[in-house]
Symmetry: C2
Subunit: 342 residues, 2 copies
């Protein structure tokens, strides 16, 4: 089972070991208090209900054998101590020293591992998604913020304390836009969902409602604040101001990717998250900047693509991290390879 | 034995497995032709003469047992295919598809491994130098250009094709100084020896000879071109213009390090090479920029220090890479730890 604990939602599913999509998929809200018992109860409840839903799904699909769950892999947002299974710190949620693995083990009896959520998402795309078959995968998730992950030699790169891959905070322009981290000119200050919405407010402003007559929440006709989701949707429909904003975003993303490609020599870059729904409107300008800035041998065989797993990448990768830890304990040291889907 | 093949010199020595400095140290010039036989002959001659010198050194030091050489580790500048033991490309030397490992094996009978020189230098500092005891070591060598290396989980991080760690080409300022790679604003365009000399020519210009009366080659009294070495030496002696140039270099280095620290979460950064001889004149401004730009959890326990092994780091690390490959083959998977020297 893979459990992805994000800032607002917990997503969980049973991930078949050999191949196939998650079953028994469950989404619930993340407890916003730092109370250990409340978090542990929510986690145990998620595991139990996912287990039941997964077993029911499999029975419905005609499975004859009983569903055996090997264990639970958690991917959690924040500073993670994988060895102790503790979420050390998530200042936004107000969680500190949260013993997530112990909560699962003591309340469900299932073995459990803990990984950072961005590392888990990268491992998920590498194992079952757009990163399959790559030797060195760099994954950037452009959501509210920017998450990063790196998979090399079949495992997530964690750095000294499991904090590696804060790719959102590499510097694009030392005197540039203010970032939430306190520094200026970080990649995140340009390409995250929040940053795109802020830039849209500056250069486009609120727009008239009912654009194209089909935008659901915009049908009322009043002025509309452009979220990143709306910017991407309008850009795809051909709105010139939104297209140009997405293009500029792609160029800045390309600057960041160029630095990361020179430093890390990936053979695949996966850009995921809701901003990546812009597809080539975003990635074509990125690829062009990478072509201009990165030395030729580093670009040979390199692909820059969008993610395949959407918001299931974290759960899939968290389950992969559990399986990887178990197999490393048995001296196997690699995940089973299912059929290539990418 | 460790052999470090650089653009101008080949340096080699016997590296004792448990501890101690290189013995039988040899330096010779690197063949500047791309002729395979000439390169193979030079390499074999280096191995033989290092072997003889090392044995003589040990006999003189009173060693009673015969010196047993386990094999040869090469660190070579350029694009390296470690699995085949081939230097794929070094455009500056005009070497292509150079079978370096085979040259050693066929001409000396010793087993041989091949690693990139910057990875080898990082592994050397991690194994025997300023990186000892770190979980994740980032090493930057500021010489003519900028070399980078990363050691994680006890082994060099190589990326997809062994090209990782071109840290000199992360972007500091997209509209900034022209870099030799063709792009603008790369770290290397500010902090390499060549870049410091170019910036000194722009902001200081040639200076009067005999500064301080003791500078050897400057005793003639005529106008002197400021090389990076001279800039560093003058800065250390208190020359205000050179101090200020070194300080600015440290600030730009800090910007680059801040991005790399966010992306990689090292617990130790080693800055080596001749520019690093400026010591804290260079590193104090770097540390200050890192303090301003990098989030606190990433900075906890992080040290930014100068290298310990000087121009022997590459040979020491190349020998370490050989030993590591041999021990991984035997399922040990780690280098022996000698007494802590750092």
């Amino acid at each position: 089972m893979g459990v992805d604990i994000g800032g607002s939602s917990i997503r969980a599913g049973l991930i078949p070991v050999e191949s196939g999509p998650p079953v028994g998929w469950k989404v619930r809200s993340t407890p916003q208090s730092g109370d250990e018992d409340e978090v542990a109860a929510a986690l145990a409840e998620t595991v139990q209900s996912t287990l039941e839903a997964g077993r029911a799904d499999r029975r419905e699909a005609g499975a004859v054998r009983d569903t055996v769950v090997l264990g639970v892999g958690i991917g959690a947002t924040g500073l993670v101590d994988g060895e102790r299974g503790v979420l050390v710190e998530n200042s936004r949620l107000g969680w500190t020293q949260m013993p997530l693995s112990d909560a699962v083990v003591s309340r469900t009896g299932l073995p459990c591992t803990l990984e950072n959520d961005a590392n888990a998402a990268a491992l998920g795309e590498w194992w079952r998604g757009a990163g399959r078959g790559s030797k060195c995968l760099l994954c950037l998730t452009l959501g509210t913020g920017v998450g990063g992950g790196l998979v090399w030699a079949g495992q997530p790169f964690r750095g000294a304390r499991g904090l590696a891959c804060e790719m959102g905070h590499i510097c694009i322009d030392p005197g540039g836009r203010q970032c939430g981290c306190g520094a200026r000119g970080c990649l995140e200050a340009y390409v995250s969902g929040d940053a795109i919405a802020a830039r849209a407010a500056e250069v486009i402003g609120p727009v008239g409602g009912g654009f194209g007559g089909t935008e659901g929440e915009e049908a009322g006709g009043g002025p509309i604040v452009l979220t990143a989701r709306r910017v991407v949707r309008r850009a795809r429909r051909g709105d010139p101001a939104c297209k140009s904003l997405v293009q500029e975003t792609g160029e800045v993303l390309g600057l960041g990717l160029a630095s990361l490609i020179s430093a890390l020599n990936p053979d695949r870059v996966v850009v995921a998250g809701r901003v990546a729904r812009a597809g080539d409107l975003l990635l074509a300008p990125s690829r062009e900047v990478v072509r201009q800035r990165v030395m030729e041998p580093m670009r040979r065989g390199l692909e820059i693509v969008t993610g395949h797993l959407g918001n299931q990448a974290g759960s899939v990768g968290a389950a992969g991290a559990f399986l990887l830890a178990e197999r490393q304990g048995e001296g196997i040291g690699a995940l089973p390879e299912g059929p290539r889907v990418a």
